[in-house]
């Protein structure tokens, strides 16, 4: 199956072609570029499937340098390459699938609604898919950074798609700036990695995670750690890269851009949240897991931030009025779980949750998009109600997604979230920090159930609360088809890794674990486990069957409790706004714990003043110095010019004088007069 890898670059190249097509000839095409995008991402999906099967059969990773940007080998070369292993093959499949479905959905959401500027929309969407696919395939950190930035740019373009209104451009700018803040650290990290190891490759014997491990073991020479202890330095590098991850994956405190990003078209939100931008951060941690596994400090920070974000965002989701806002906070919260998993050493659990979340979150966003279309672009859940009978396809698929999100057995989210929490519990039995992170994640499960079903009940159950909700707008197959596909997947995709069932029956059905046990020597889950044990002190913990089942039962019970609370409070014909009972807490929650306020203060109160000071310095001192230099130069020039008096006897005198000075100078230095 060598053939498949030869076509691997086309997976990313196809959407790029459709980007060009949509941009330049989109306006002449019947669906304004949608068909080009559907064809391209469909092609990418098929190729991804082929590549996936190739990895499945061969098992070995495929590494190839496609193009060398700077061919100098000393101190390092910069190149664009492809790395296809178990992780990237899986991710390619997810990204191309979601992209394809989002394109199809957009036919209904954008074309049928008569939006203008569609070629721009499809061009942006195609470029987004291209950037993310290329990011996933990246063989080195430098290339990953390039496409990471391109992903950020595309999100800016698409969030601000409706640029004539006030809010979307502002939200786009915010998304760009906040993620860029994290990316500064990432950039320094990339430079640091290149400067330290002389390579940024992810995989292979000369890759930087392998070199870092050898350096810790004292085997590698020529690693420049800038005077730090190697492990300290690797922690610093890991945390710098983590800055970019926290920006893109919306981890506390850089999560504030994400709720605002809901201003973009809903299919874009689906793409951002499920498969592209937000996923990029977590994917990057998984991609260089061999490096993070060497640093217990970085891992602890990842885990703790993840656990905190999971709980923190879930509480905010409980009070939101707009359906997309609820989903936005849910995304932040779910990515927190993934980070928690990766931080506690649950590599498979993290990737598993990334996979299942991609399915059910894309589904929920598309469902929300369908509801919004039906409601004539009114997003307030308090204006909905009773849509269950009127939009049955949407309701049942949305319900499947919600059950998955809340983590109700046997939907996808249950299996992955259970595994995340189980891994956190295992680690927490060693170390109280992880136990706190686990506890936050566990409490977050309750709130997840609560806000998810509050959303379901407010939207679909009860009596219609407005006239629009009584007679919603209907839509075609192009919106239903993606929802059905994702609904099925959200229900069954968890079955690929049913750890509790495997524990009970002893059957080898943890397919994802098995999948990651194959592949390149330094990219397997066993290798990561060994690294964690040796360098991060993550010893093997003996997990009894009772613990596995108990953990699963506790999280399921909490999810059911949350859903039950939502049922009691909101599944009534005419629900009240129970949030009023919360009093001042409600105000705090509505204002998102004043996160925006302090960040705005940081930007306006602090940064703007520093910038003003710098401007004064620039205007006064730097420009003053420059202006001073030029006036002094002109003054001196004027003097130099006046030497030329026009009187030839002066010239002769000056000439002779000059010669004498030269003679004396050379003579004294040459010692003629001694």
């Amino acid at each position: 199956m060598v053939g498949a890898f030869e076509f691997a670059p086309a997976i990313a190249a196809l959407p790029f072609v459709s980007f060009l097509v949509a941009l330049f000839v989109g306006r002449f095409m019947p669906k304004k570029g949608a068909l080009a995008g559907i064809t391209a991402t469909g092609g990418s999906l098929l190729l991804s499937l082929w590549v996936y099967l190739a990895v499945l059969t061969s098992g070995d990773p495929h590494v190839e340098i496609v193009h060398t940007l700077i061919g100098v080998t000393d101190p390092f070369s910069l190149e664009l390459g492809i790395l296809i292993d178990q992780l990237s093959a899986l991710m390619l499949l997810i990204v191309s699938l979601i992209s394809f479905l989002v394109f199809v959905f957009s036919l209904g959401y954008m074309n049928d609604e008569g939006e203008t500027g569609l070629p721009r929309y499809y061009a942006g969407l195609s470029l987004f898919s291209f950037s993310m696919l290329a990011f996933v395939m990246a063989s080195n950190l430098f290339m990953a950074f390039m496409f990471f930035e391109l992903v950020g740019l595309c999100s800016y373009l698409l969030i601000g798609f409706w640029f004539r209104a006030d809010a979307p451009p502002s939200a786009a700018k915010k998304a760009f700036l906040v993620t860029r803040f994290g990316d500064y650290f990432f950039l320094i990290g990339v430079v640091g990695v290149l400067g330290t190891f002389g390579t940024a490759a992810f995989a292979g014997d000369g890759s930087f995670p392998v070199l870092a491990e050898q350096a810790l073991a004292g085997e590698a020479a020529g690693i420049n750690t800038f005077g730090f202890d190697p492990q300290t330095w690797f922690t610093i590098l890991g945390l710098l890269v983590l800055g970019g991850v926290m920006g893109k994956s919306a981890q506390f405190p850089l999560h504030t851009w994400l709720p605002d990003a809901m201003e973009g078209p809903t299919p874009v939100s689906a793409l951002i949240h499920a498969a592209t931008m937000v996923a990029a951060g977590v994917y990057l941690v998984a991609r260089m897991y061999g490096f993070y596994a060497l640093s217990p400090t970085a891992l602890a920070i990842i885990a703790f931030v993840g656990g905190f974000t999971a709980l923190f965002a879930a509480t905010m989701g409980v009070v939101k009025r707009e359906i997309k806002q609820v989903l936005a906070y849910s995304t932040i919260s779910q990515y927190g779980y993934m980070m928690l998993a990766l931080g506690v050493g649950g590599y498979v659990a993290g990737v598993f949750h990334l996979t299942t979340h991609a399915m059910f979150k894309a589904l929920l966003f598309l469902g929300a998009g369908a509801v919004i279309v039906a409601m004539h672009h009114n997003e307030d859940m308090w204006k909905m109600g009773g849509l269950k009978e009127r939009l049955p396809v949407t309701y049942y698929t949305f319900l499947a997604g919600s059950l998955a999100l809340a983590g109700i057995i046997p939907f996808a989210g249950f299996w992955s979230k259970d595994e995340v929490l189980f891994e956190a519990l295992l680690r927490g039995m060693d170390n109280p920090i992880f136990l706190v992170a686990y506890a936050m994640g566990l409490i977050g499960v309750f709130f997840t159930g609560l806000y998810t079903f509050r959303m379901v009940f407010l939207t679909f159950h009860g009596e219609p609360r407005t006239t629009i909700a009584e007679d919603p707008h209907h839509f075609g197959w192009n919106m239903k088809f993606p929802m059905v596909v994702l609904g099925v997947l959200a229900t069954v995709v968890g079955l690929i890794n049913m750890t509790p069932v495997a524990e009970l029956t002893g059957a080898h059905i943890e397919f994802l674990h098995i999948w990651f046990e194959h592949g390149g020597e330094t990219l397997t889950v066993e290798h990561y486990g060994a690294l964690l044990e040796q360098w991060a002190g993550y010893g093997a913990v003996d997990a009894s069957t009772a613990l596995v089942l108990g953990s699963g039962a506790v999280s399921l019970l909490l999810a059911l409790a949350g859903a039950g609370a939502a049922h009691v409070l909101y599944n009534v014909p005419d629900p009240d706004e129970h949030t009023d009972k919360l009093g001042s807490i409600k105000t705090v929650l509505f204002n998102n714990y004043y996160q925006d306020e302090y960040q705005v203060w940081l930007a306006e109160g602090l940064t703007a003043n520093v910038a003003r000071g710098a401007d004064t310095f620039d205007q006064g001192i730097i420009d003053g110095a420059v202006n001073g230099v030029s006036s002094v130069s002109l003054f001196l020039g004027d003097r130099a010019r006046r030497l030329q008096t026009g009187v030839v006897t002066n010239y002769a005198a000056l000439l002779t004088l000059g010669l004498v000075v030269l003679l004396v100078a050379v003579g004294i230095l040459g010692g003629w007069f001694v």
Binding site: S633, G637, L643, L663, V666, G667, L669, G670
Partner: protein, 510 residues
């Protein structure tokens, strides 16, 4: 080569066994061709003294100097080696041919451009004869291998130059400039020849090689002072020719007062002649390792720094374009002096010297072109100040584009070879650890961009004055300017591609 066959004198000393039976004289063929061109002009003038057949005179000069260019180029390419003539009084080697190429090229350009400039003024034949004779003198300077030959050929170059500067007999500025040039020139020649006598007193020889041999053997300690004064005075004579401070006083006025093609000729070719003499005398006759107690490298460092700084600073405040170019030409002499000032022990000496030679080559074209553009402006009679050039590009875009290439290349931007030649000089200065010179080069180049871009801004951006009009597009001037622009432009890729052979051009002297 047919010219050389007429000479039947027996061969002088020749190191080259394979000489095509011409007795070694073919080695100085360019000089002979230029001399014959001068004779041909004399003949034409004596046949028809009153006629003003400018086209014929200009044509003969151009053809003669072009033949010399081709012959020089051919000799350069075939690698003539090193040939000594007249008992070692003259030497023909890579460096002399390299500079002969510069001189003859500039002569051809100037003669071509003079066709319209001279127009129907009186004494046309004299004009061209003086130009060719000065060029002949320059080629001899390039080959001079003894202090006596050097002095004679220097005078052969200078005397026609004085007359040429004063060529516009009815123009007060021209005549005054010629007189001042002559006075300062006489003083400098006196300094030079006195320096020669002191060196002769200390070493007992005039031949460069023998002077060097005597110095290597070691001279009486009491003579070090005599020798040192002689060396510095010879340096003074050279500095006059290169218009280096403090021997530069003639330059701004001579360049401004002279007919613009002559300014081009003096500031490019004549300056280069000064440099080839400096390179030859100081590297062959006074090698650094042989001459103890006379630190001429230091003297050149001082000279380079002062010259480039004062030249550029004075250029920054000028009001007329021609005088600005005159001062900038002094500044460029300072850059080229780096080639000698950076010959410290730490330096890659052949590299530094070659960088200086390359700069002079590029400079020969870009500076000649810039002065010829001024000649064009004078031909049109549009005025001399920066403001007078306002909006000129709307009338004469081709010439203004060429001028922009010259100016940016002079400033060291990559619109021409000037970028790379300055870059090589900078590298050489840094390698030699003469960081002051490197810093001076950078600072002065930055400053020079200011006054060069003033001209470009006037030509392209400013609105033309209401009555700006130009008459005609003189063919010869245009051809010369465009040729110079094309060569300046092509020198950039050419130097980049041939940087290896180009940067060993000066290695013959080490």
């Amino acid at each position: 080569m047919s010219v050389a066959t007429t000479i039947t004198t027996p061969a002088a000393v020749s190191n080259q066994p394979l000489q095509l039976g011409l007795g070694g004289y073919e080695a100085i063929a360019p000089t002979i061709i230029l001399g014959l061109t001068a004779l041909a002009l004399f003949t034409i003038d004596s046949i028809a003294p009153e006629s003003r057949n400018n086209t014929l005179l200009s044509g003969v000069t151009v053809v003669g100097s072009l033949i010399a260019v081709v012959v020089t180029g051919w000799q350069l390419l075939t690698g003539a080696g090193s040939v000594e003539l007249f008992s070692g009084q003259l030497v023909v080697d890579g460096m002399s041919l390299f500079f002969t190429f510069i001189f003859t090229s500039v002569t051809a350009l100037v003669a071509l451009a003079s066709h319209e400039y001279v127009g129907d003024r009186a004494y046309q034949a004299e004009y061209y004869v003086l130009v060719v004779l000065a060029a002949t003198g320059m080629t001899l300077i390039a080959s001079a291998n003894s202090l006596a030959t050097a002095f004679v050929s220097l005078e052969l170059t200078s005397l026609p130059s004085y007359a040429l500067v004063a060529y516009l007999k009815d123009n007060r500025g021209s005549v005054e400039a010629g007189l001042k040039y002559f006075l300062i020139g006489s003083l400098s020649s006196a300094v030079f020849v006195y320096g020669i006598s002191l060196v002769y007193a200390a070493t007992g020889s005039l031949l460069f090689t023998e002077v060097a041999a005597t110095l290597s053997a070691g001279i009486d300690g009491s003579l070090t002072g005599v020798l040192g004064i002689g060396v510095v005075m010879i340096l003074g004579g050279v500095a006059f020719k290169t218009a280096s401070i403090p021997f530069h006083f003639w330059a701004p006025e001579a360049y401004e007062g002279a007919p613009a093609p002559i300014s081009a000729f003096l500031s490019s070719a004549s300056k280069a002649a000064g440099f080839v003499l400096a390179f030859r005398v100081f590297l062959t006759a006074f090698p650094i390792d042989a001459i103890a107690g006379v630190d001429w490298v230091l003297a050149f460092q001082i000279l380079a720094l002062v010259t480039m700084t004062l030249g550029n600073f004075a250029a920054a405040t000028q009001e007329t374009v021609k005088r600005m170019l005159a001062y900038s030409s002094i500044g460029h002499a300072g850059y080229a002096l780096i080639a000698l000032g950076a010959l410290t022990g730490a330096a890659n000496q052949p590299f530094v010297l070659s960088a200086g030679m390359i700069h002079l080559l590029v400079y020969g074209f870009m500076n000649t072109g810039a002065f010829l553009f001024v000649a064009l402006a004078e031909h049109w009679g549009i005025g001399r100040t920066f403001e007078d050039y306002n909006g000129l590009a709307s009338k004469a875009p081709v010439a203004c584009a060429a001028m922009s290439i010259f100016l940016f290349s002079l400033a060291g931007l990559p619109t021409g070879g000037g970028f790379l030649s300055k870059y090589f000089l900078l590298i050489g200065a840094v390698e030699a650890q003469t960081y002051v010179l490197a810093a001076g080069l950078i600072i002065n180049s930055a400053l020079s961009l200011y006054f060069y871009s003033r001209v470009v801004k006037a030509m392209w951006i400013e609105e033309p004055a209401g009555d700006l009009s130009i008459e005609g597009y003189p063919t010869g001037l245009y051809a010369a300017i465009v040729t110079a622009a094309v060569v300046t432009l092509l020198l950039l890729p050419a130097l980049a591609i041939f940087s290896d052979p180009a940067l060993t051009a000066g290695s013959g002297l080490f």
